[in-house]
Assembly symmetry: C2
Homo-oligomer: 199 residues x 2
């Protein structure tokens, strides 16, 4: 798949098939994260791969899913993620406030690398961190930035253009997710703010 | 180029050839940013493409380059970026503190999309924002998150493994940049913190 095709076709996935993801594949996704840029090359990030059945079940209980499409897109049993990558920031290695910035770039690499292999993902920031730290035995100097849920997709979300000002994603009558994005010409200025692309 | 090959080969570029980047190409890079995930789909980001000679020169003066390799990697005339994408956060659209997170994911898309087209980039957070806002005529409700410098590469940085604890990138005697990254097994845990990959 061409790079721009990966970018264009990738969408957040919240319904998953139950085929397992092996350790080698999950390490390959962390490898993509490892090679993301890091502010001043500080590299404060570490990763916990979760793919053991009981751990997967326990982590699932700590997550809150897409607010605009609840409860229809709370994944029910049989459609839940089969693995997670939990992204940690080591506070002793963090430079300034760049931990969340490094994490976002690394997570974007995970999302794209997954999609390039046919794997769907959902980036979750709404996590019960206190409990998750216990479940994964995470030392105090680390904090959980995000959890990336993973599995082969069992839905096909659609990209849409924003109608008016609303940016809320929604499910249609056929249970397909639509994600409205602001138009390219609306968000892009040329050489000075407010100047638009020549026709 | 295969997606993982883009990830593996991409490095920050600070020396550029002077071939121009056209408006269509720069819009394609913003398109990659536009399609990045956004927290709750809030989409607070806008972009200023800078590729007019005088604006490019003025923006250059507002940037501080890689701290570990100064002054050798302060790009001299004839090696400077030929274009910029300035990433803005609209405070009225920002949800919580997710503006910088959205920006980092979008910028990572720009870096990868550039590289997939043979274009080098440097993500700069060290920007004289007060002056840049004036140069680009940016309204008060927007703040500059980062500046992405762009151009065809005129150097070939190398990926290295960390030797000991040092994460400082450096230039060797042949003026090649080496970027040490922490090893995959050091930063990855399996199902519980501290458990490593099976051999």
């Amino acid at each position: 798949m061409d790079f721009m095709e990966i970018i264009r076709s990738r969408r957040t996935i919240r319904f998953f098939r139950q085929d397992p993801l092996g350790e080698d594949m999950l390490f390959e996704l962390v490898e993509a994260a490892r090679l993301a840029p890091s502010a001043s090359n500080g590299q404060p990030l570490e990763y916990v791969i979760v793919n053991e059945k009981t751990q997967v079940e326990r982590v699932f209980e700590q997550l809150a899913w897409g607010a605009y499409v609840q409860p229809r897109r709370d994944p029910p049993a049989g459609h839940r993620p089969v693995a997670y990558i939990v992204v940690l920031i080591n506070s002793e290695r963090e430079l300034g406030r760049f931990g969340v910035v490094d994490a976002a770039a690394a997570i974007e690499n995970i999302l794209l690398a997954s999609w390039s292999k046919g794997i769907g993902s959902c980036w979750l920031a709404s996590v019960n961190r206190e409990t998750t730290v216990d479940i994964l035995n995470i030392p105090a100097k680390y904090r959980i930035d995000s959890v990336v849920a993973l599995g082969y997709p069992d839905e096909t979300p659609l990209l849409a253009e924003c109608a008016g000002d609303s940016i809320e994603y929604y499910l249609d009558d056929d249970d397909r997710l639509h994600v409205p994005k602001r138009a390219l010409n609306t968000i892009t200025h040329v050489n000075t703010f407010g100047r638009r692309k020549k026709a």
